[in-house]
Assembly symmetry: C2
Homo-oligomer: 143 residues x 2
């Protein structure tokens, strides 16, 4: 049923290493999570309400944080809420954020990514993921 075999494996490995258990809820939430690029706990709560009306919000928060620890997700604080980014969707996590009106534009730039790789390898690092946010004013907000 699940098509996310690789990520499921990552999760199970993490669980095994930390004496944690593989539950129906964790499987359900991971499946839903991997279908998106990023999501908030609240959004997921509503999405899953139909599949499992008794799934608690606290469980979703706990599980998304678990995914962060397992290296499957990355938390990002946006406005008042926390966005959980799907790390397996590489290259789509860059944002232009208007400090005037809050507008967010997503972008992708291969040249920047290539330079990031260079910086990393020069320092002996292998990049798993990254976060790039540019803050400024969009043209309407500049008047």
């Amino acid at each position: 049923m699940s098509k996310h075999v690789k990520e499921m494996g990552v999760l199970k490995e993490h669980l095994g290493k930390h004496q944690l258990k593989f539950t129906r809820q964790r499987e359900l939430i991971l499946d839903a999570f991997l279908k998106q690029e990023h999501i908030t706990a609240e959004e997921m709560y509503h999405q899953l309400a139909r599949k499992d009306p008794h799934l608690g919000l606290a469980t979703i928060y706990r599980t998304l944080n678990l995914f962060c620890e397992a290296g499957l997700a990355q938390a990002r604080h946006f406005g008042t809420q926390t966005q959980y980014d799907n790390i397996s969707h590489k290259g789509h996590h860059d944002h232009l954020i208007c400090t005037g009106c809050g507008k967010i534009v997503e972008f992708e730039n291969c040249d920047i990514e290539r330079l990031q790789e260079e910086v990393a390898s020069r320092n002996g690092f292998t990049i798993q993921t990254h976060r790039l946010e540019l803050y400024g004013l969009c043209s309407p907000c500049r008047q």
Copy 2:
């Protein structure tokens, strides 16, 4: 007394344009703010408690937000709190972060910054500040 003549001028100009008033609290908070690279409202509250024990936390939040509108500060959500960055400190805060051992390497790369400017202008934005974090494994952690 105040050494921040230029920034005080920026503030006064903004106040004038918006029918706002120059108050003792705003002067006090701006002076304290400009001495730091970035600060939270809570931190400033404690810092200023000695100088003015009756200065309210709400006033600090309001004033820091005012500084953002005036272009003197930049709000950034970090962890659960909001950091207010001093824009006049144009330091580059790019980081390489090892997800294995937590080691952090700071770096600066002009080419990346130039590309960021390009992306921004292509989207009609003017960059005030940015944040770039690369997550990965350092060579010892890769074994």
